[in-house]
């Protein structure tokens, strides 16, 4: 029995077919959970983001016009849901309110870390960053937004975005260096 294509799943889900909805979720839940893990501080937060993201996906499935890949579209929706989730929890505090990086913190090993691939390492390191740093770093370095766009997305100033990115990089470099030393 052949697997339905993405378009078929979308059309079925738009009609309200529960099986297509579940198949759509099963197909993209793992990649999207990985995305949420990068934006969240732990699995629980990532789970909440994923749930909100997919609720949004099913609500806005009618807006998908078939232009571009379905996975890319779902990814954008999930990221927006993650940002809304973070905004609700006032995660984007001004840079001066966030704790400064100390050498002792960088020495603490990440939880649940092993050498299985860089993806897990990146995810684990990102989860250790403060939420503001983590989000700006994700949006700038991985998603490719400009500071102006990040400021508009997160409701912060451009200067705050630059400051948080700079501090996030510095913090990440220290953590990465610590991990490499431990290897």
């Amino acid at each position: 029995m052949h697997e339905p294509t993405d378009i078929q799943l979308v059309q079925g889900a738009q009609r309200g077919d529960a099986r297509c909805e579940e198949a759509l979720y099963r197909r993209f839940s793992v990649p999207m959970f990985r995305v949420c893990l990068r934006y969240a501080a732990n699995r629980d937060e990532a789970r909440d983001m994923l749930q909100e993201g997919f609720m949004r996906v099913f609500a806005d499935l009618g807006d998908y016009r078939g232009e571009g890949s379905l996975e890319g579209w779902i990814r954008r929706v999930v990221i927006r849901a993650a940002l809304r989730w973070l905004r609700k929890r006032r995660a984007f505090e001004p840079a001066d309110l966030l704790p400064e990086i100390s050498g002792d913190e960088a020495d603490d090993p990440a939880d649940n870390w092993n050498e299985t691939g860089d993806l897990r390492l990146v995810t684990t390191l990102l989860q250790q960053l403060p939420p503001g740093y983590r989000t700006v770093l994700n949006l700038y370095a991985i998603e490719g937004h400009s500071h102006e766009e990040i400021a508009a997305l997160l409701g912060i100033s451009v200067g705050t975005s630059r400051s948080q990115l700079s501090k996030a990089r510095a913090m990440l470099k220290k953590m990465l260096k610590h991990e490499l030393i431990q290897r």
């Binding site: 959970f33 990068r38 749930q51 571009g68 579209w73 993806l119 897990r120 370095a141």
Partner: protein, 519 residues
């Protein structure tokens, strides 16, 4: 990786985020908990139930409104006094009094007296020009769309009908004017507007390598899709000043991420012009009836609208429209002839008599000045009363403020449609009455004219109506759309302020418009 600059760090982050395995990790660190799907399932079921309730409510609301409309339409108007006189029927002819000479010429004494009389005729109350008379006669033959554009003054321009044989047995009933000009059909529309987002919107999740040169994308192993893979668009060239992305990631352009799915702008504005057929529904509440048989008329409407889309499916809209209620009727007026007021017009060889009167119209009582001419060969008793039939063309202009709620389904492609409902507030802004005399039910009465000397006293300053309709739009671009909106309006409050009967305006028509979307 002991020391690397910011760009290298960013590149490493991107590469690491995109190099995840297709299958979940064995220890399940990247597998979402199962309860996520269970909660999603519950939420989707609840949403489905809400949607069913929503459509059921709509269905019953439409049924209910249809029932109300049917009930309102089935209520007959039964005035307590006799029905207005129908113009197509013969009005009874008033015979001459037996004391009046049957022929003026038989009384030579009177003829002599008349000939030598030096009667100041003065200026008649109305000078009927030949051109006007021709126009009136032409109007009798043709259908005249009396579109009131506000420029014509109500100066009592009327027609004079020569009626030497008394009641015109073959008089034609007043015919409603022809409809206005058709809305010009749209020319062939351009192809659907190009997607303003960059061509490539492919975004690769970690674990889906898009290394150029590989054949089948290894995303297939995760999805196990059967069949040829959908060819993926190539990522566009990086924008100037932006970091160069690794080609195999095919990251989407920035604008697509910042404002994806921007097909639901929040604020829009539009201009529309339309044609409506409007009439009024009468509900008897007292003992009087409106004078005359009425028919509706075509009107033009222009308007400006402003809308706010507060939800993906819902929008609220308001605006300002210029509209009018246009009614035509044949009405009767009783004229009391006073001999001491008549004056002889040598030019027209008629006795002119003038009187003020009040006539009941669609919008209340109006004061008017009647002028009639009497043939010298047809004497009349003092205080004789006869009926005059007038054709009236009334227009009440309004400024209309609609409050509309629009619902639109998911938009696919350039064609879009929505349903709308709401109320409209109509603020009175002028009244105009045109009259053309038809005939009188007395031989020898000629040169009937009437002028409005006041305004309709019963015109309600504000009325409300209920509106239903839809809209079909063609998006020319992200910011612009053409629309066609059929609409039906049913009056909720009477046009006649304190009259003995309730009159509710009923209209139906279509508007064509241009909409602009701001954000």
């Amino acid at each position: 990786m002991n020391s690397f600059n910011d760009n290298e760090l960013d590149r490493w982050l991107r590469q690491s985020a995109g190099q995840g395995p297709e299958q979940p990790a064995p220890d399940g660190w990247d597998t979402p908990p199962e309860d996520v799907w269970e909660q999603l399932r519950a939420g989707l079921d609840q949403r489905r139930k809400r949607r069913r309730l929503f459509w059921a409510a709509w269905f019953f609301a439409v049924i209910g409104l249809a029932g109300i409309a049917w009930y309102a339409g089935s209520t007959a108007f039964t005035p307590s006094r006799p029905q207005p006189f129908r113009a197509e029927e013969n009005i009874p002819q008033i015979k001459d009094s037996p004391n009046t000479p049957s022929s003026f010429g038989e009384n030579k004494k009177l003829q002599h007296h008349f000939k030598d009389a030096k009667i100041e005729t003065g200026r008649p109350s109305l000078t009927i020009s030949e051109g006007v008379e021709n126009d009136v006669l032409a109007a009798q033959k043709e259908i005249t769309p009396p579109v009131i554009n506000g420029r014509d003054r109500l100066s009592g321009v009327l027609g004079v009908l020569s009626d030497n044989s008394g009641p015109a047995a073959g008089a034609k009933a007043y015919v409603a004017p022809a409809p206005g000009p058709d809305i010009a059909p749209m020319k062939s529309l351009p192809t659907p507007f190009p997607d303003e987002r960059p061509a490539s919107t492919v975004m690769s999740a970690p674990g889906h390598s898009r290394i150029s040169g590989t054949g089948m994308s290894n995303a297939q192993t995760a999805r196990t899709a059967v069949g040829a893979p959908v060819p993926l668009p190539v990522a566009p060239a990086p924008l100037p000043g932006k970091p160069a992305y690794a080609p195999f990631l095919n990251l989407p352009p920035v604008s697509a991420l910042i404002r994806p799915q921007k097909d639901h702008p929040s604020v829009y504005s539009g201009l529309a012009t339309g044609v409506f057929f409007t009439t009024r529904k009468l509900k008897h509440t007292g003992t009087d009836a409106p004078n005359g048989q009425e028919s509706g008329g075509w009107i033009w409407q222009q308007g400006l609208s402003l809308g706010w889309k507060f939800h993906r499916r819902w929008a609220i809209e308001s605006g300002l429209q210029r509209t009018a209620i246009h009614l035509q009727a044949e009405r009767q007026l009783q004229f009391r002839y006073r001999l001491h007021q008549e004056q002889f017009d040598q030019q027209r060889f008629l006795y002119q008599n003038t009187a003020n009167d009040v006539m009941e119209t669609s919008f209340g009582a109006v004061e008017m000045r009647m002028d009639v001419g009497r043939e010298p060969s047809r004497p009349i008793n003092d205080l004789a009363v006869f009926r005059v039939v007038l054709r009236t063309d009334e227009q009440a202009r309004y400024w209309r403020v609609p409050l509309t709620l629009r619902w639109s389904p998911a938009a696919r492609g350039p064609w879009q449609w929505n349903l709308a409902g709401g109320i409209g507030l109509n603020f009175s802004d002028g009244y105009e009455l045109r009259m053309a005399a038809a005939r009188a039910n007395r031989p020898g009465i000629r040169g009937i004219s009437a002028r409005l000397s006041g305004n309709a006293n019963g015109l309600a300053p504000m009325t409300t109506d209920l509106q239903f309709g839809g809209q079909l739009a063609y998006r020319l671009s992200r910011r612009c759309a053409l629309s066609l909106s059929p609409e039906f309006r049913y009056g909720l409050s009477p046009m006649y302020r304190s009259g003995p009967f309730r009159s509710l305006a009923v209209s139906g028509g279509v508007q064509a418009g241009l909409f602009l979307y701001f954000k």
